[in-house]
Symmetry: C2
Subunit: 281 residues, 2 copies
Amino acid sequence: SGSVLASAPGVAAASRAPEPELAHREMARELAYHAEARLGARLLPSAVPAEVAEFRNGAGNAVGSLDVRRGSPGSTIDFMLQSSLHCKVPNGAIDITSLLIFLNASTDAPHFLMELIQGNPTSIVVILDLLPRKDLALHPEYIEKYYENTQLDRQREKIEELPQARPYRSQSLFVRSACSPTAILVSIDCGQGGGSIMDEVLRGQLATAAKELLQIWLDTCADHTSKMEEGEREYMIKRDQMVRSKSIEVDLTSNLPRMFDPDVSSRVIAEIRKAFGVQEA
Amino acid sequence: SGSVLASAPGVAAASRAPEPELAHREMARELAYHAEARLGARLLPSAVPAEVAEFRNGAGNAVGSLDVRRGSPGSTIDFMLQSSLHCKVPNGAIDITSLLIFLNASTDAPHFLMELIQGNPTSIVVILDLLPRKDLALHPEYIEKYYENTQLDRQREKIEELPQARPYRSQSLFVRSACSPTAILVSIDCGQGGGSIMDEVLRGQLATAAKELLQIWLDTCADHTSKMEEGEREYMIKRDQMVRSKSIEVDLTSNLPRMFDPDVSSRVIAEIRKAFGVQEA
């Protein structure tokens, strides 16, 4: 095992325990399988060192995993990133699962992004979006192509109509600005004792919406190269870079150090930065 | 009177009846007074022809008003537009009130926008925003300056916490994309017999939020000229132009022809296009 604790025999057994099974983690894994099957050779083999592929903290209460597969040369794929964090806290556990498939500058098609943040067995925050790569207020044709013609808003509506769903607003105004107008940004709260309802919602409506979004992304974005003028492409690259560095800053790099020892979290963050192609701020 | 029906004696008396008093219209007028007092000589006198300043339809069931004041030369103000539409429908009336203060290209500061759409005495849609003029995903410093430092999100929160408020989503993905991440976009529904609650909310929390937004706008945006590189300014002008033409298309030019006779609505629309500086599509 590449676990950073493999050499500490006393806690090794406990700390080697895999992350617990969770409906939401299972859902993310199924989505990732589906994406991998469809993208095939356009994804290179996994490229993260073992100590980052799976990691733990010294106290034994947190475990995480990270997988990054770069796109093959000539493909539109920049990288596919899966990550999963599990951290026991006094009243339960926090579980964060991410699946990101980002495209490179050969296309202006949106990235795929899913993030699930479960603070307890009966509530979860869901962020599910095709992340736009253009300034939508200047490009109505982009909205039409990727968001209207694909009827993405229907998926959002279905989830928001769930009686357990409330709109979720990121604290970060930047994150809100980076999302599309059809982004699924909800907090699903099933109330005390609602664990089985939560499971149903996750395996039912939420899994369905996530699959449909991924399918739409695979069909309309993943293969799509775009003709762009040079200035347009430069603008997109600058914008992409900003979105990447800000989302790393807001998201993983703020969560990881709170859950893991500094050496572990900085190794993981370095690997994520490498995937995102952004330098430390 | 400049009413288009002034020469039709039969219906003249009825059709000359002013728009009914409404809490929301009163609120918009107070805001406009406040803005005018503060902007003073930076606003030129009203410049709309009498037949557009106030207009009616032939059937006598709809009445509207439009006022446009251009900014004076050398000021940052492009125009201030107030409009009000009242249309009787079988089950009541629709009232739409708008207050827009748009800036010119000497600054990249946000525009002020308020729109109130009341379909019956107990429910209203509120759109209240400082409309960004930059691609926020590329300009976190713009978010910080105009939206974070001004704590605009607090205003949104206060309104969304009202028990009568639900998030409102424009059907138009473009409109959603053009708004800021702190935009107040709510539907306030007070239920059957809730007319007095509605009045309280309008004159209370909503009027307060609208005043605070206007005050923030007057303090941080209205006087603000911006140093920009030429390419930046060109980009902003293109973006502004797109936002202006799309919002006219989505909004007034789709409502007016349904309420007013073609000659009336096209005169009014022509005047709005002139203010916005956009040509017919």
